[in-house]
Symmetry: C2
Subunit: 291 residues, 2 copies
């Protein structure tokens, strides 16, 4: 069976939540590129992020990918048009899938978007949601990524920080906002903690799951066999545990392959990736793109 070859790009480990969501739903050969020597993109300018992202796209295209997923909210928000212009394969970002999901489920047509500083400054989510008739308040949460990378996923300090950020967001947000968009790929790891903090009426949209859904739909038109799961709205439930581990089972699941490329330390990536994916990560190669 010829499985599709999917390139996945992020500045670091955050995009692994997107890879994990896709891996649970789609059998494919995955090529993950983490630009760890130059992370985080969240604090960098449009020009710098575009330059780095196009550099990564070139590397992944050299692995003969059929499709490129920009599993990085900052790169998508700041540089998707530039990456599409530069790429020779279809490119899917994380902003459009997340906003489409939010628009699908918001009853009050109002949302809160939490993200890095750069994603918020770009207003990519606000603009995309407005086009779908949703008012949005965007809140930068710069401490969430370091807290996740410190491993304080379910820690009192993280809960306190989350309460400060979300109290402020709720106070500033349009009345009756009923969707919280996790517009950074690190944030799905905080979803259980955030679920406890926000009101029961607030639905959480996870851009990793939303993006996997879009990729699955796109591929299902071409490759029936590759679809492993037909979950439709994987993370809007209030309390339901929806994440199944990447288990080793029957074909075509067995044929999935995962290769990882990073621009900085392989060991540090392996350690973090194991936490993000909930499984041992092998085949990590260091690559030097210069700079």
């Amino acid at each position: 069976m010829t499985l599709p070859r999917i390139g996945v790009f992020d500045s670091g480990v955050g995009g692994l939540t997107v890879l994990k969501a896709m891996g649970e739903q789609i059998a494919a050969h995955y090529f993950y590129f983490g630009d760890t020597a130059r992370l985080p993109y969240g604090t960098k300018s449009v020009e710098t992020v575009a330059r780095y992202a196009i550099c990564a796209a070139r590397f992944l295209e050299a692995q003969s990918i059929d499709l490129l997923v920009i599993a990085c909210n900052t790169a998508t928000a700041l540089a998707l048009p530039q990456i599409r212009d530069a790429a020779h394969v279809p490119v899917i970002g994380v902003v459009e899938p997340g906003t489409a999901m939010a628009a699908e489920i918001s009853k009050h047509r109002a949302a809160i978007v939490i993200a890095t500083e750069a994603t918020v400054s770009s207003h990519a989510y606000r603009d995309a949601l407005q086009q779908r008739g949703i008012d949005a308040y965007e809140k930068a949460c710069p401490l969430f990524v370091p807290l996740v990378e410190e491993g304080w996923i379910d820690h009192p300090v993280t809960e306190q920080v989350a309460r400060i950020y979300l109290d402020d967001a709720v106070a500033q947000a349009p009345n009756q906002a009923d969707v919280l968009v996790l517009a950074c790929t690190h944030y799905p790891l905080l979803a259980p903690l955030l679920r406890r903090i926000v009101s029961a009426q607030m639905q959480i949209v996870d851009s990793a799951e939303s993006t996997a859904r879009v990729v699955r739909r796109m591929l299902s038109n071409q490759h029936d066999a590759v679809i492993l799961s037909d979950k439709v709205v994987p993370y809007c439930g209030a309390t339901e545990e929806r994440r199944t581990p990447i288990s080793e089972g029957s074909s075509p699941r067995d044929h999935r392959t995962f290769r990882f490329y990073v621009t900085d330390s392989v060991d540090k990536f392996k350690r973090l990736a194991t936490r993000f994916l909930g499984r041992q990560v092998d085949h990590v190669e260091h690559v030097d793109l210069g700079g």
Copy 2:
């Protein structure tokens, strides 16, 4: 009067605490290079940090500097020998001055060193202190830099995080450790908060002030006129407020100049630099070193 030309290099804004300490003590032309497009160095490998630092040294040498200060603990800890090999001017790092100061004031010959992950992993401080007969426990505090950059300098969350880190450090440290070395250039901004948390017997050594002292001594042998202040142990006092603002006064203070070069957003740098230096920052130029 011909003032010395001092190059100051850091991955971002942290080195501004070193610049500030030098600016208060030494009249000079200062050229500050912040490699903000590639920060933070604290999570990167030795090879990557060395490559970036040498690149920055080359840029500063092109500004005709007489002396290069590596105002970045990670770059000093990981790559000082490589930078010295590559440079054509004297190079001063921040590790040696901080450890010399610690050795000078520790009565019990035991210290706690707090730093980024990369600085701790390098064990540069532990090794340098051991050579001076001081036992040291090194503790990585990866949340301090993002907390400082969030502006939560004196915030309950920062205090809670600091208590967690320092309780752990004190529990692991050699008995009767009486010096706390702030081995990251961001940490001087947390000094008042840390002062409240640690015991009264614990003296705090700030590598910014220590480095300024070493530079001042070096220059005073050659240029008597440039010395603005003769403070000797600027931040070991328990409660004393020792930081004087960079005020505009009489010559040669008036002749000091400050130029700033960054590889990423000029605006973001100006905003953070104003917080670090306590004064408006102008003359910030964007430079592109490639990569």
